[in-house]
């Protein structure tokens, strides 16, 4: 009895190992053409999987639970232009490169700042939107921190790997890193950090009346930057996107969508 049981277990383990070993071989043959053309791969799937986070006004949920926003609407239009449907997946922002390379998403389209690190890890077409990194402090002390020089003594909270973190490093500010911009903002509210550096668009949406941060305000703009879409390294979706954006800009749809979400001032022409 015990012997048979032991042999069964060994057999099961060997089988499991073989299964692990042989799995990659078969699909590799199927996917050989897909490796050449990302566009063909996406069209073969019939859907463009868009990696996003909840980030108004770029990607957020409407009352009936559909993803809307400037980025979401543009992503839907782009997917349509290549003959597929857009599927939105809310991802953990820290893992966006893992998601992209592991093919669990096909692009990152979420008000992503085109930092050097991002452009090294992804293929990014020309940016479509301007943004800035701003310093957020408690409103009662905002008057004291209106210049870059005045910031030296403060302890900053930033999102790890974000444009804000880069800006802080460039300006030689002392800072602590957190996993999201929202966490950095919470640090300031809780008084555990003096200030944080976040996106201007986000600061506009998250602080002030009606939020948990009515006593915060933003002061200095540290750097200006640009938002872009990220595709897999070397993907031919980049060309498809560039052609789509040019056509959509000339047809006026880009500005139309931008006006809907109040970001028309920031749009970069094709």
């Amino acid at each position: 009895m015990k012997k048979i049981f032991a042999m069964l277990l060994v057999a099961a383990m060997v089988f499991a190992l073989c299964a692990c070993g042989s799995q990659p071989a078969a699909p590799a043959a199927n996917q050989a053409p897909a490796a050449d053309s990302d566009l063909a791969y996406v069209q073969g799937n019939g859907k463009l999987v868009v990696g996003i986070t909840d980030f108004a006004p770029m990607d957020y949920l409407d009352a009936s639970g559909n993803w809307i926003g400037f980025d979401a609407d543009m992503a839907k239009a782009f997917a349509e232009s290549i003959g597929v449907e857009a599927e939105f997946v809310e991802i953990n922002w820290d893992n966006k490169v893992l998601e992209l390379n592991g093919k669990s998403i096909d692009c990152v389209w979420n008000g992503m700042t085109l930092t050097d690190a991002v452009q090294e890890a992804m293929s990014c077409p020309a940016p479509y939107c301007n943004n800035a990194q701003v310093v957020v402090v408690k409103a009662e002390v905002a008057d004291q921190y209106q210049t870059v020089e005045s910031l030296a003594e403060l302890n900053f909270a930033v999102e790890a790997g974000s444009a804000g973190a880069e800006a802080a490093a460039d300006a030689g500010l002392s800072c602590q890193e957190f996993d999201t911009q929202a966490r950095a903002l919470m640090e300031v509210q809780a008084g555990t950090s003096d200030a944080c550096i976040i996106d201007l668009l986000m600061a506009g949406a998250m602080i002030g009346e009606g939020t948990s941060y009515p006593d915060l305000s933003y002061t200095v703009s540290l750097t200006s930057e640009e938002y872009g879409v990220g595709f897999r390294k070397g993907s031919d979706l980049v060309d498809a996107y560039t052609a789509f954006y040019k056509a959509a800009y000339e047809a006026g749809t880009v500005m139309e969508v931008a006006t809907t979400y109040g970001v028309q001032e920031s749009i970069i022409p094709a």
């Binding site: 060994v10 909840d54 599927e87 809310e90 953990n92 669990s104 999201t180 919470m186 009606g210 939020t211």
Partner: protein, 219 residues
């Protein structure tokens, strides 16, 4: 607003409950299998099983989640989980089942080996077969012995479900935290603590009740 938050937290809590239930359902039987493997008198079986238990217990569950979900796509070039919610959930459940089975296996091993040899010998004297001895003599005593340490693991499991957010499975903390990003409201995040407290309180009562039920014999 309160209702929106509550609705979202409930959804996240049910997701956490699903993982909790699936993990227990899968990890208890698998844990017994691994326990027998690690007690086997055949080295070809015992050593690999011990190696696997060492690897799984020796690395963080968060890392295991990342490897199991992203590994196939990144290392093997074939993401068999897919990008949707179902694939993420399956990967998370498998990682949890495997991780917890390894912890459970050691508790089971301790429970089985802790039953005095005399019990087994008594069974043999009475002419019982090996499987009769295990199911009628050993197992009942094992169950009684492992209830307190299992209770520990089970309550840890409730809180560990919050780890699945690293691969974007929308459990309760994810759903609580998203209100900070979308509308700048902090309290839902801390409110999630009440769900954990209520549920682990319920489990504590249940485990206490089970212990009492098993009180009819002494080990």
């Amino acid at each position: 607003m309160f209702l929106t938050v509550l609705n979202s937290l409930n959804q996240g809590f049910f997701k956490a409950l699903e993982i909790f239930a699936l993990t227990l359902l899968g990890a208890i039987p698998l844990g017994f299998i691994i326990a027998f493997g690690s007690m086997s008198r055949y080295r070809v079986l015992r050593y690999p099983v011990k190696l696997v238990v060492w690897i799984v217990r020796g690395t963080p569950l968060m890392l295991q989640l990342l490897i199991i979900y992203y590994g196939p796509g990144l290392l093997l070039g074939n993401n068999w989980w897919g990008g949707g919610a179902a694939g993420r959930f399956t990967a998370a459940s498998l990682a949890f089942i495997f991780n917890y089975a390894c912890y459970f296996s050691e508790i089971f091993r301790g429970g089985i080996q802790g039953v005095p040899r005399g019990q087994r010998e008594a069974g043999q004297v009475l002419g019982m077969t090996n499987s009769q001895i295990f199911f009628r003599v050993t197992l009942m005593q094992v169950i009684k012995r492992i209830v307190p340490p299992m209770g520990n693991e089970i309550i840890t499991l409730v809180k560990d479900t919050s780890l699945v957010r690293v691969i974007a499975v929308y459990e309760i903390i994810w759903n609580g935290e998203k209100f900070i990003k979308s509308s700048g409201i902090i309290w839902p995040l801390f409110f999630t603590g009440l769900y954990y407290l209520a549920f682990s309180g319920l489990l504590t009562l249940l485990l206490g009740w089970i212990e009492k039920k098993l009180d009819y014999f002494k080990v």
